[in-house]
Symmetry: C2
Subunit: 391 residues, 2 copies
């Protein structure tokens, strides 16, 4: 049975050209970029090429504004904790939202232990944060605003450019977790106006465990990893050069193929959404109807559990997830869905479909074909559903 | 011209079987280990296999005591900062030595900003720390001792097992940076008696940018990377699975080949040392004569600069380094050599030879053949040397 992979938010398969670049690197280069001899120089060239490729993807002014990290999570931790330490004499207040990725929320939890204060803002039913609320939350003690560019569970795109204007006006730094947006939709750090931006290769056909942090020149960010002088003294440690070469190539390909990728995935996503809405009653489409990532569809199926749906789809060779990968293993309902006002039971019945470049209309049609039966089977076993039908 | 690579401390070439394992993984697996569907399970199996391979190399009691990290630097940062936060209510004093890797020293520098206190101990002329001095430095506020197993510039092996007994008696946690020892000499966390141990794949023919932290069960270590529930909730973020598969295979091979590798490298190193001592006057062999890593030779050549020596050897196709890779780019003399009592000028004339499994007697003999001439050429241009000869 062929597998239909619709869980690209958990990790994309490597692009064939990314594989090729990584395998070529594995077979030819092994020096350490910091070494001054010839082997070091070959490694250093590979590293700096990747830095340019990533800088180009997000329109950074200078490749030295790109710091390689071990993924989106480290990038976020570095941005938030690095500013917290760098500006600890200026203030200890940070603003965020209730629907951020766990790497943001839990970084802030740790900072609270170290006497930092956090304001976490509500979102509306579509998951949008109100820029006016951000401005209202700023105090003289505020050093950082960290708000995501695109939500990783419902896909809602936040008004980061507007928030950047507010941040600038109030002389507060702005970090955006753009992990689920970079490489999927056009992201330009200059037009967004952010000081810090996090991205990860495994959202756009690069390898897992590799990412980057964009640090606008002059932004006072302390290293998260202390040690040697790598990455322009912003991130110590010998680089994961094999992964970084993959990230660089993935960035170059994303830039090249962006204009074609996003509309194609959006057409597939819309087909999936329309098919499910037409065939399955009592479902909720989560996220903003239009300000939303093109490749993501979050659907809540009332009266049943997402986990059961996911496992029954797996039996059909269809891979989806119930929530963001980083929250897997948690039994609690999604904090994102609860924040948009969804009730607990409906939130538990959620599936996350995320499409990728290998997906076809046939894949989508297969889901539209098999899912209604699965949903009905589970609902027929659901006491909640029977009660609702009887009532 | 063939290249003679004698800079294995900066990074080892990948073992052919490590390459094979990584390329196989690149071509076959792409799921996220946290996903519950079939693609996730394949990834999860690869991850847990690597965890077992690393646990076996260092004789950890349970694979769950292994946490994958983005290299030795993150592993060290995690151990030190993780204990600092985990035990912040118990105390804020940490003991280390003056010859640690920059990842230790600079992690402690950051903790000082957050109101932690550090005692940094002297070493003797061979680079050895005195366990009695460690015991004397312990106060009721001490939460952690961090001392390296093998020094990365002079190779000296510290008496960690003795220090562990002292740590245990005084109920203080012990972390050892074993990055330059693991995979090179036998390392057993149980017989050492440590609570935390850092290792990195690129010291034993695995990929760069991948490492691990051994955390003995029950050790109160806060995550350094906050976010999702990966790595038994000890290190958030999607894993660098391609690199981790390489680390796992490198660990398995190191365990298999250990008995053969270390004596062979030591014989080559001794041949190099004897050859240089016999042919070049006014040199200093750094580190302990016997309690020393088998594959490392640190030699200080009086009256000249290590940097010039390194570049002239590079012209001959011989790659060596002047100091630890992580300190490259710094113009200051090595803090390790200064700590052992070497004068500044002599410390500046130091070369670090580190041997690996591909090196042969012919490689060593080539160095013994060409280096005396290079040293003499540089000395003939050295004002310091002329003055010394005249005086």
């Amino acid at each position: 049975m062929g597998v239909i992979y619709l869980d690209h938010l958990s990790g994309t398969p490597l692009h064939p050209k990314v594989k090729e670049a990584m395998i070529h690197h594995i077979n030819t280069v092994y020096g350490n970029p910091v070494s001054d001899h010839r082997m070091g120089q070959a490694a250093s060239q590979a590293l700096e090429k990747a830095r340019e490729q990533v800088a180009a993807l997000i329109n950074a002014g200078d490749p030295t504004e790109i710091v390689f990290e071990s993924g989106g999570t480290e990038s976020v931790n570095h941005a938030i904790k690095g500013v917290a330490i760098g500006l600890r004499e200026k203030g200890r207040h940070i603003i965020t939202t209730n629907i951020e990725h766990k790497s943001v929320l839990n970084s802030l939890r740790t900072l609270r232990l170290l006497d930092y204060q956090v304001t976490s803002l509500d979102v509306d039913a579509h998951g949008l944060v109100d820029p006016a609320a951000v401005e209202k939350a700023i105090t003289p003690d505020t050093i950082l605003i960290s708000i995501m560019l695109a939500n990783n569970e419902i896909g809602t795109l936040e008004p980061i450019a507007d928030i950047a204007k507010i941040a600038k006006k109030n002389k507060v730094l702005l970090h955006t977790d753009a992990v689920d947006a970079v490489g999927v939709i056009p992201v330009d750090v200059k037009s967004l106006g952010v000081d810090l931006l996090s991205l990860a290769a495994n959202q756009f056909y690069g390898p897992p465990g590799v990412g980057a942090l964009y640090i606008k020149k002059g932004t006072p960010v302390w290293p998260l990893l202390d040690g040697g002088m790598q990455e322009n003294k912003k991130r110590a440690g010998t680089e994961n050069l094999i992964g970084i070469v993959g990230l660089g190539m993935a960035a170059e390909l994303a830039k090249q193929e962006m204009a074609e990728r996003a509309p194609r995935l959006q057409a597939l996503r819309d087909r999936l959404q329309e098919g499910l809405v037409a065939r399955i009653p009592d479902i909720v489409i989560n996220g903003h109807p239009t300000l939303r990532l093109p490749h993501l569809l979050s659907v809540s199926f009332k009266y049943i559990e997402g986990e059961s749906l996911m496992l029954m789809l797996d039996d059909e060779g269809i891979c989806v997830s119930t929530r963001s990968a980083c929250a897997s293993g948690s039994l609690r309902a999604s904090h994102v869905l609860i924040s948009t006002g969804l009730d607990f039971a409906t939130a538990q019945g959620t599936l996350l479909f995320s499409l990728g470049r290998d997906n076809t209309e046939a894949d989508v049609d297969k889901v539209i074909q098999v899912l209604p039966g699965i949903v009905q089977t589970l609902r027929d076993m659901s006491p909640l559903y029977k009660k609702e039908q009887a009532g």
